[in-house]
Amino acid sequence: MRSLDAGCSVPVPHLADAHILPSLPVFHLSRKVTSVVPESCLLILLGLGLGGIVLAVAKKPKYQLEPNMFFLFLLPPIVLDSGYFMPSRLFFDNIGAILTYAVVGTLWNSFTTGTALWGLHQAGLMADPGVEAGLMDFLLFGSLISAVDPVAVLAVFEEVHVNETLFIIVFGESLLNDAVTVVLYKVFNSFVELGPAHIHATDYVKGVASFFLVSLGGTAVGLLFAFLLALITRFTKRVRIIEPLFVFLLAYVAYLAAEMVSLSAILAVTFCGICCKKYVEANISQKSRTTVKYTMKTLASSSETIIFMFLGMSAVDTSKWAWDTALVLGTLFFILLFRAVGVVLQTYVLNRFRLIPLDRIDQVVMSYGGLRGAVAFALVILLDEAKVKAKDYFVATTIVVVFFTVIVQGLTIKPLVTWLKVKRSDHHKPTLNEELHEHAFDHILAAVEDIVGHHGYHYWRDKWEQFDKKYLSQLLMRKSAYKLRDEIWDVYYKLNIRDAISFVDQGGHVLSAAKLALPSMPSRTSMSESSVTNLLRESGSGACLDLQVIDTVRSRRDKEDAAMHHVLRGSLYKPRRRYKASYSRHFISPDKQERQDKEIFRQNMKRRLETFKSTKHNVCSSKSKARLKEKGRKKKNISLPSDAPNGRTHRNVPWQEAAPVLVTVSSDEEESDSSETEREDDEGIVFVARATDEVLQGKTTPGSLDVCPSPCIIPPSPTLAEKELPWKGDQADLAVYVSSETTKIVPVDMQKAWNQSISSLESIASPPGIETGAQHRRFARPMLEKQPQSASQATPEQVSRFQFPSHISKSSRSKSDSSPEGAEQQELQPLMGTEEQGRGLPPAEHRRLAFSRASHI
């Protein structure tokens, strides 16, 4: 088997990658080319060209495709990707056919090709005397040349879009035949080394036994690691950031482990990927899911690119070539012939058992789609020249075969598929109805099998699903995930996300389903809106999408909302903002918190706001109506593109919760001069930092927006306290705030950076007008200026502050009792903390809990 020892050759080729990789997008750019020529062909040709240049410049061929590099680094990502994203249902539906083609087909191909070539040699047709090879050598060659290559198949078939059954059979075969190839290769290699004279009958038996050992062992290793992986991700709730790491790490460890004990590593990774996916996806967070998906795809396509490039570049090295026309042509002819014969024979047998037979066209595509690729090349390079005399001939032949299959067959398979009118697959997104029906359908089929009394495929699948539901999922999934685990629900959830994304993309106007007028549907007259998400929102379930929720809330209760906003803005503007921020944040990630929590949170929130509003309304009745309207409008427009110039664009992001602390804060500062409303739905990660930020902001508002008597914030006594505080500039100021509760989240050095970014932005982007002054005031803290303002607005704030005396008294922070910011923060936070967690704990403690938890996300 492949040895694991040489890793040192890696750095050199990887240096070259840096230059090569950018060429990939170029192909993507020119659609016309790629619609005709598969990417793999282009890459090989490009590799040939590059190899030629290198040869011309360096006078000697460099950058070979090293087998070890290939097997250790390039192959695993591709196999993992294909395993992880394998449509498992389809795969297991066709597992019988796949296994037949993979095992019987590969065996057939190896033996017939090897024997036929040997016959050709015996017949004296191979003129070149250098071809010194016996039957064993040819069988060895046959074994490595006969395996269909997953990389090549994937590269070509992904672009062809044949129907899914055909695809899964060819592709599944190419993945699973690895075990056969590896075993055959190893067995024949040892036979060649032993010499034909020393082979005993027991060796053959051993060979057969080792096949089962290697394939089943590899699968077992894969399953073991899939289990481990699922189990680990169950307990990563607090360390979300390393979830993707675990996925990659354990899959790779599975590969290495299998490789180390000479089991089939490809099988191990494939099955690890197939089996862990369901549980891992349920356990990890949405963010991690996205990360895993994109990282995996990126790694796989990078590897693929590198492999094909290097195949091209390796071919330039003519020193390894030893050409024998008869061998090359013979091999080409035989692999095509025997593949076709093998497919036809096997399909004939299979069709007797398959309920849906594979027709002739399928068979043509299957035999023609048997592409050879880098695996064969790497295996032939690994041959020991001392033992296999004709290695150079084999290398040359392999290169020709790979090039022929990838380029010629790859080029022609698409026209062939079109010409034969092979049933194509229409790639459409799953719809809720389809999922529902299919779900019901599975039960129906299982039931009918029960009634007929035949324990067929559906029966066993049903049994497996029951077992999975009862034991495996319980063991491997988080409780919260397990509870919600349901395919229909999943699809529903995904559709909602899709709707939300398109909703946002279209500037927040159109829902895919929203255009439809269903409100008049008799049974749902209570619905005032018809978006799917709105339905969901009404149903009070937690899988709702924040953005849409917010939006529907708005459109629904526009007036009420506007009024409330106005009220809150006047007396206690921040809580509203904060409320919004957390609101969206918790909706975004249903797996972050249990739904029950959210339920409580929301209800609590509603109730609180209700009371809040009623109390506040009395306090600040002095607001101008014009202001109210304006604010209301602003709020309504909040998701419209017109807000984008204000740095608003990142608002679409929050529900992805992707922004790191520093970035958001700085962007926040950028927009600090724009309308206040922007703040209210920023992402949650930052919100501790934001808390201080908002407090600061609160001070500026009175200066800038004097129409509104609001920000209040500064009662008389606090100003005194403020004076006493060690304001040494923003640094100290922020330190006070941040340290009070954010230290857990934002490390000290980051705080500094944060401050710096704030101040730099301040100086760079300080807008003209009053606001500028206000803004500067806020950071430079000219106390004198502030005092009059605060004095003038003291009264309303004080009244409002007394609404929550208990919170103030509970606070343990140094500044809180005396400073306005502290007071205000307190008013904000109970809203946050308690609601989030339920009512059990005292607010002050609670807040901390909530925040630290948020920080882990």
Binding site: I356, L436, A440, G453
Partner: protein
Amino acid sequence: MGSAQSVPPEMRALAERTGFTSEQIEQLHRRFKQLNHNRKTIRKEDFDTIPDLEFNPIRARIVHAFFDKRNLRKAPAGLAEEINFEDFLTIMSYFRPIEMDMDEERLESFRKEKLKFLFHMYDADYDGIITLQEYKNVLDELMSGNPHLEKESLRAIAEGAMLEAASACMARTGPDEVYEGITFEDFLKVWKGIDIETKMHVRFLTMEAIAHCY
């Protein structure tokens, strides 16, 4: 009739009508007798004796479909009390796999027949329309295996699915138009993406399996 099928011409007629081979018919008949304890007809209660069926969430609905007169091609509505072997075969024939030599037209009608069966399963009140309530009921049964899903979410899903069906089937709806429910034509559209003819089938021919299946 249940006992008559051993006569070759009877059998041939049955085979002709349902598309089963005589071997399969024999097979199914054995199972039929096993289920109804050698009576001539089969009743709903007989299905209760099948142990594996117990865990099926939509079991009642499936059993119901066996007695649905629409599926038996006898009447446009109503429920049969008991069915004989021929009816049993008729129902079973909905689950036949496609055959190699089927042409486009037959394939299409085959597909429609299968879908009709499914449609009837949803449409409980024989009015040719799957209303939201009917959809919800199915969903309710379907999800009964998951106690953690609340009724509310079920409702939401049903409504979401209904909306989706409506959006797929009524592209040109005006704001005041009412989507009553899924008609069979709409149902066909909903199923367009799924190759029902390649999926809705059961293997009927395995002798030994029946022997130890009580």
